[in-house]
Amino acid sequence: MKIILQIFFSVAIFLSFNCNHSSDEVSTIKFWGFGAEGEKVKLLIEQFEKENPSIKVKVQQIPWTSAHEKLLTAFAGNSLPDVCQLGNTWIPEFVTLKSLENLNSLLLKSSIKEENYFSGIFETNKIDSGLYGLPWYIDTRVLFYRKDLFDSIGWKSPPKNWDELKRVSILLKNKYPKSYPIFLPANEWNPQIIFGMQNGSSFLKNNNSFGNFSEEKYKTAFSFYKYFYENNLSPVGMSQVSNVYQAFTEGFIMMYITGPWNIGEFQKRIPQDKQHIWMTAAMPSTDSIYPGASLAGGSSLVLFKSSKNKIASWKLIEFLTSKKQQLKFYTQTGNLPSNRDAWNDSILINNIYTKAFRLQLENLISTPKVPEWENIAMKVQKSGEAVSVKQSSITEILFNLDNDVNRILEKRRSLLIKNKK
């Protein structure tokens, strides 16, 4: 019996030594990626592991629909990864949770410079001068339009400002009365918010603690949004357009505000012989400065405070945001690079559809940086639905929206007061 025990312990000790030894050499970091990005990033990571033999990266792919829940649950359960892709509207929330590492000092030591990024998108990663993420790819909205139908009414260029957008819509409606010039889906909050941004609305006021939707700037933008429903220029309700690509090809809708992923979809779903009919354009503006603002969306790469391998993790972030990898990532996913240098590459310069995006990237605005934004956006969407079916007057809808938003922000207000004391 004694001998058996002795053998057992010596084997156990031997094994544990061996384990320790190997983990000294290779550090393993966990990376979470969402949806298609989480899948495609694996190819880039292979390259990273080849270049850094001492670092092993475990990639976990999480569907977008459950990403947010999963992250919050992981935070509560203390099982966050080292590095993660994070939708940049979620950054304020995770900063509030004090779970993100401040990257200011790491950036100082790094070869990456702030100037390498588009300012609008970089700004979304900053909370009170602290940097909490590096932009990975950009997701903004531009105007996809039917070039051939624009030609047919004598418009050679896309609308540059709101007046032109109105005028071209009316002209298109007159020529094609059974169709709709623009598609503003009532189940999205993006169009209203983009129009609001273009008109300089701040959406929230008093240190982001009250809704500011009844104010003149947003009201004007909202009336502009309403204009398209009122004059039958946009289909009401979702049921009329069950397949956007089909409706667009048929000319049932002629303009659509959407994001970069649809470049690939349009190329795939519109028949080959009809590819010449569509084009992209930057957003119209309220004044003479073109383009008007659009959403600074997209994902950032963040480093969690709980990480035990911060140096290795930062290396991975640097690697994924480098020009070369950003271009590789673009060719695989169609996600637009956040790195300015990448945009000088011929792949992007020669693509006629990304040109509008390149122009748009110079004028991006982020949504208010409060953890409650997702919740507020839902209410904004509801207000859009209400105006599309002419439920009540604009003043009333916006008054209700402000009320809803004020209720959501109640906790934030009480905390602001508490922190002042």
């Binding site: 629909t65 935070f75 949770l97 069950s242 953890p371 919740n375």
Partner: protein, 294 residues
């Protein structure tokens, strides 16, 4: 003292079960109840100092929240239509499976029970194909009768019926087994006596099977009702509550508030609201059944 002496051994025997129940049931339920009077949210997750006791405010907000009423309406729709249908289907199938003329009884019993034990996520993939507006089998069959294709899961009028059909298919096997057990406990002499009296099949069913099954039926009705009030996984995997919140159930709403927005306080108050509703409906059902018996 005497009491403990007398029941001491009994306490000893139930102690493990009670301990487990205490820590994994009573404590969480009590904690949740307390939580429903706080504004536990994402800020509280960051720092527990940010929790405030807000009394009945969660419940007040809940009652004025139109989304709660939508969810309650949808859930009631599901319970009122789906519940009885499910019981009727289970009973009919049980009678068929138990019938004397039926062959391969065990085989069919197993077949009908299979949906109960398959995972909902795998099943939902199949049902999504069945419901597909263009390539789905159901629309293909409807087309045969020259009925226009229906966008089952994309249309707010049809989404809930689609969920009900799927839920019944998924769950009827369980109740069927209980009914079969009930049917088998009915003494054969009763049917023989009825036969001698010249009763037809319907009279036998109405005058013998139904009354003899009443206890089983009460049990099945209550269990089904409670289960159907907790509708969650079907809409969660099939529609995520859409389109236009037409399949948003109370438990799904609770899940969204709890794990999507992390407003735990509010979410827990929904849970207790649901508890009160289920409790009230169950009491009513029991009373109603008792009255009928007298």
């Amino acid at each position: 003292m005497n009491y403990i002496n007398k029941y001491g051994i009994a306490f000893l025997f139930i102690a493990p079960a009670i301990t487990v129940l205490f820590f994994f049931f009573f404590v969480p339920v009590f904690a949740a109840f307390v939580m429903s009077f706080t504004d536990f949210d994402i800020y509280a997750l960051a720092d527990f100092k940010n929790i405030l006791f807000i009394g009945f405010k969660n419940y007040q907000n809940l009652i004025t929240d139109p989304l709660f009423w939508t969810a309650l309406k949808n859930t009631l729709y599901f319970v009122v239509i789906g519940g009885p249908l499910s019981v009727i289907v289970s009973l009919s199938v049980a009678i068929l499976v138990n019938s004397k003329v039926a062959k391969f009884k065990t085989f069919f019993r197993t077949i009908f029970f299979i949906p109960v034990v398959t995972t909902i996520v795998a099943v939902s993939v199949v049902w999504k194909y069945l419901y597909h507006p263009r390539f789905g089998l159901i629309n293909y069959i409807l087309n045969y009768f020259s009925i226009e294709p229906i966008d089952w899961l994309g249309n707010s009028d049809y989404a809930m019926p689609a969920i009900i059909i799927m839920a019944i298919w998924k769950n009827f096997g369980y109740n069927m087994i209980i009914f079969v057990a009930g049917l088998q406990s009915i003494p054969e002499q009763l049917y023989e006596a009825a036969k001698i009296d010249g009763a037809n099949e319907w009279q036998k069913f109405y005058n013998i099977t139904m009354p003899m099954l009443s206890q089983t039926t009460i049990f099945v009705c209550i269990i089904t009702m409670i289960g159907y009030f907790q509708l969650f996984s079907e809409p969660y995997v099939m529609t995520q509550g859409g389109p236009l919140n037409s399949t948003l159930s109370i438990v799904l709403l609770m899940y969204q508030h709890g794990f999507k927005w992390w407003s735990m306080g509010y979410s827990v108050s929904i849970a207790f609201m649901l508890f009160v509703i289920i409790y009230a409906v169950t009491l009513f059902q029991l009373k109603w059944q008792k009255k009928k018996e007298i």
